[in-house]
């Protein structure tokens, strides 16, 4: 599965610029828009649309990291996010006082990350022994098993009802569930996760992982431990999924088996595919499209005079259109458009010479 561009890991010393000069102008523009969005957007847009976009984007990013750089399409990422989310509810405080332990946040959050990472590593160790469609099958199987387990286990996961009133800690006197703080929190964590994936993809580990993706035999012959690299990728990806999972629980103030069901696992795949799995930005674009469709499809239908109960139709058609016109996602569309323009410019330049 060669999905990713080779990261430009080697830069000629003479070409080396300061790091901020290497960031193109569009990125600065995007950053400015995102940072100043609270000035113009209302609470609904900040908390619901953008907050949810960043959360889904991060969970999608963990899949993109595995699929794009590691060649492993995992349907497990929502479950890993769910483990982290559940741990926050179980170890921290929630409305279900009989189960929740009510520990302090500085124990709860690291523990949530650790347990999710452990879960991801164990499942990863199982899944890396398979390739292609079999990886999808085994991760789907684990996701389904975890969903049913959470739904039927009452002593730890509180079964069908799950946990409600799971609130973020009141750090620095800020209610992190207020729209503006939550927006900045999720934006910052999304930016960090994005940066981390970009950094890792250019690090020796990331390059080796891409090598493993493209030709595992040759990498093994070169002395790289293929399995260890793949399992490590699962463990690392779990961090991004966990961040998303914890924020998701805080945003909804609750978690229940429905949160980690099979449809949710498929949604993460949809988000990554629609956005494009070649670059870390893809999942965030996919998540934005997904969220907009989810939130506004009833209105779109209502606008054209259809009844709102067919809202899933719009969502389905939207995704169908993207996948049909651009198998490598929205980012692929953008790449092709740029390549075409480049070619046209080149032809024009060639004609003049």
């Amino acid at each position: 599965m060669a999905m990713t561009d080779h990261a430009p890991g080697f830069v000629n010393r003479a070409d080396r610029k300061y790091w901020f000069e290497r960031i193109p102008a569009q990125w600065w523009a995007l950053a400015v828009v995102l940072v100043f969005l609270p000035v113009v957007a209302n609470n609904f847009w900040l908390f619901q649309v953008m907050g949810w976009t960043f959360i889904l984007g991060m969970i999608g990013l963990s899949l993109m990291f595995l699929a794009g750089y590691g060649g492993m399409v995992s349907l497990l990422q929502m479950s890993i996010a769910g483990v982290a989310g559940y741990m926050v509810a179980i170890l921290g405080s929630s409305g279900t006082v009989t189960v929740s332990l009510g520990l302090a946040w500085w124990i709860v959050i690291p523990a949530a990350f650790l347990i999710a990472a452990l879960f991801a590593t164990l499942c990863g160790a199982l899944a890396v022994r398979t390739e292609g469609i079999y990886t999808i099958m085994i991760t789907l199987a684990i996701a389904a098993a975890f969903f049913y387990f959470a739904r039927q286990n009452y002593t730890i996961f509180n079964g069908y009802s799950g946990f409600n009133l799971v609130l973020p800690p009141q750090l620095f006197g800020v209610n992190w569930r207020d729209p503006v703080p939550f927006y900045y929190l999720s934006l910052a964590l999304a930016a960090l996760s994005y940066g981390a994936v970009v950094y890792v993809s250019r690090s020796p580990f990331g390059l080796a992982l891409q090598g493993v993706r493209d030709n595992p035999r040759r990498m093994a012959a070169l002395g790289f431990n293929v399995m260890a690299h793949r399992v490590a990728a699962y463990a690392l990806a779990s961090v991004f999924a966990s961040v998303g999972g914890i924020l998701l629980v805080w945003q909804n103030a609750q978690i229940a088996p429905g949160t980690i069901g099979i449809p949710a696992a498929i949604d993460v795949l949809v988000v990554a595919v629609v956005g494009g799995m070649r670059r870390p930005l893809g999942p965030f674009i996919g998540a934005f499209i997904y969220v907009i469709l989810q939130v506004f499809s009833p209105d779109i239908l209502g606008f054209f005079g259809f009844s709102a109960e067919r809202f899933k139709l719009i969502i389905g058609l939207g995704f169908l259109a993207v996948v049909l016109f651009s198998p490598d996602g929205v980012l692929g569309l953008w790449d092709r458009w740029r390549a075409r323009r480049q070619k046209r410019d080149d032809e024009r330049a060639g004609g003049a010479a």
Partner: protein, 421 residues
């Protein structure tokens, strides 16, 4: 260029706070309803009934025009809260009617606390906890909850039918426990005994293990399952050659089960059930409601008679209309007048008089039905009794009721209740 412009305009329109439309002569109602998943058909009936109730007042309340915004959910609590937030923050509705299912109701109770200035009137969700555990001051429920729906059935089984020993099979989730609890409280207090309890996970098709374990020396089996689960059980039960009398939970003898093909039906004849309405109720309030419902929609776009879900949304809308009329259509500020009017409301609903208690939970009538042969060869249900003024605490004091515990597998202690504690 034109496309960019269009996109910009669209984006700007989406960003615009919708408040401009909600003011002046209109009241905007958000309808939160499940339109996807197992309850989709019931949800559609809910929307129909909101429309019906509003059409009866010409879409005008206290001189103000009424607008509705439908927010579809998939019965997952996170979706519900998301859609509710959209209704409040994006569509700027004045109040919300909904949701439909139990876990959504609990999620909405908690969400309602974050929007103290807006009223939320429950659609038809029936979890006890919604208005019992830490209820939200702006969340009103004019339908009976799941445990109330089970009340009255136990007395009927013991006193009228003379069935004193039962085994129970119910769905292993919150509605299953809650509905069972209402039955069990009443049944045990009337002198009945529950000898064994089985819990079946939702959507699990194989009942072999349970059927093999069912005790022989019981008078009847209480079946707290719904839809395809109930059909699967009944079929397997018949195939196993077993035969005993059944007592049905509220969602057990609904249209899906009664009209199912196969041998499932044979076991059902003579099964008593209980719930918030009786289809053949002869009370003029009910018959005229059914008639209005049937006249308002063509036969292929509705159920033969209003469903449980439709009724819930109808009563909720009716309550909103009556209370708003009393409040002069005032939904400004923190809606104090509207809330006050809701609290004082004595609602003459199609299913009798409904009042609400200090937790904003309805007190009303439970109907006891029995499954009988219908005129068209299908089974139908016949009203055989009613229990009026069923309170949230099932006729006990709040302290006694609280001492029972919240609905779960082991609630309630039958022997203790039978002894009068």
């Amino acid at each position: 260029m034109r496309k960019t412009l269009l996109a910009a305009v669209a984006a700007a329109a989406l960003m615009l706070p919708g408040a401009a439309w909600a003011q002046g002569g209109t009241i905007k109602i958000g309808i939160l309803v499940a339109l996807e998943g197992a309850f989709a058909a019931g949800g559609q009936d809910g929307v129909r009934n909101v429309e019906l109730a509003l059409k009866e007042v010409n879409n005008t309340i206290a001189g103000k025009k009424v607008e509705i915004v439908v927010a579809p959910t998939d019965t997952k609590p996170d979706t519900t809260v998301r859609m509710a937030r959209k209704l409040v923050e994006q569509d700027k509705v004045d109040f919300i009617i909904g949701p439909l299912s139990g876990s959504e109701g609990i999620a909405m109770r908690d969400f309602a606390k974050t929007i103290p200035d807006k009223v939320v009137i429950n659609g038809i969700s029936g979890a006890l906890e919604t208005t019992w555990v830490d209820p939200a001051p702006n969340f009103y429920r004019f339908n009976l909850d799941g445990s109330q729906w089970g009340y009255g059935l136990g007395t009927y089984a013991v006193k009228t039918k003379g069935w004193k020993r039962v085994a129970t099979i119910a769905a292993d989730y919150s509605f299953g426990y809650t509905n069972f609890m209402g039955f069990a409280v009443d049944f045990c207090k009337a002198g009945g005994d529950i000898v064994q309890r089985f819990w079946q996970p939702l959507g699990q098709a194989d009942f072999g293990a349970i059927i093999a374990q069912l005790p022989d020396n019981v008078d009847a089996i209480y079946l707290g399952l719904g839809g395809t689960d109930a059909i699967n059980f009944l079929n397997q039960y018949q195939q196993a050659g077993e035969k005993t009398r059944l007592i049905g939970g509220t969602i057990m003898a609904d249209q899906t089960v009664l009209t199912a093909r196969g041998r499932a039906k044979d076991a059902l004849k003579g099964t008593p059930t209980s719930g918030p309405f009786a289809a053949d109720n002869t009370d003029p309030a009910w018959t005229s409601y059914v008639k209005r419902y049937q006249e308002a929609f063509p036969a292929n776009q509705r159920f033969p008679t209003p469903s449980l879900f439709g009724l819930g949304y109808y009563v909720a809308t009716q309550a909103a209309i009556k209370a708003l009329e009393a409040a002069g259509g005032d939904v400004s500020g923190n809606q104090a007048k509207f809330k006050d009017a809701l609290n004082k409301l004595q609602l003459d609903s199609p299913v009798g008089k409904i009042t609400i208690n200090e937790n904003r939970q309805a007190t009303g009538t439970v109907f006891i039905n029995e499954v009988v042969d219908g005129p068209d060869g299908n089974l139908t249900s016949k009203m055989v009794g009613r229990a009026d003024n069923v309170t949230q605490t099932l006729g006990m004091t709040p302290e006694q009721f609280r001492a029972l515990g919240l609905p779960s597998r082991n609630v309630v202690d039958c022997a203790k209740l039978r002894a009068g504690g």
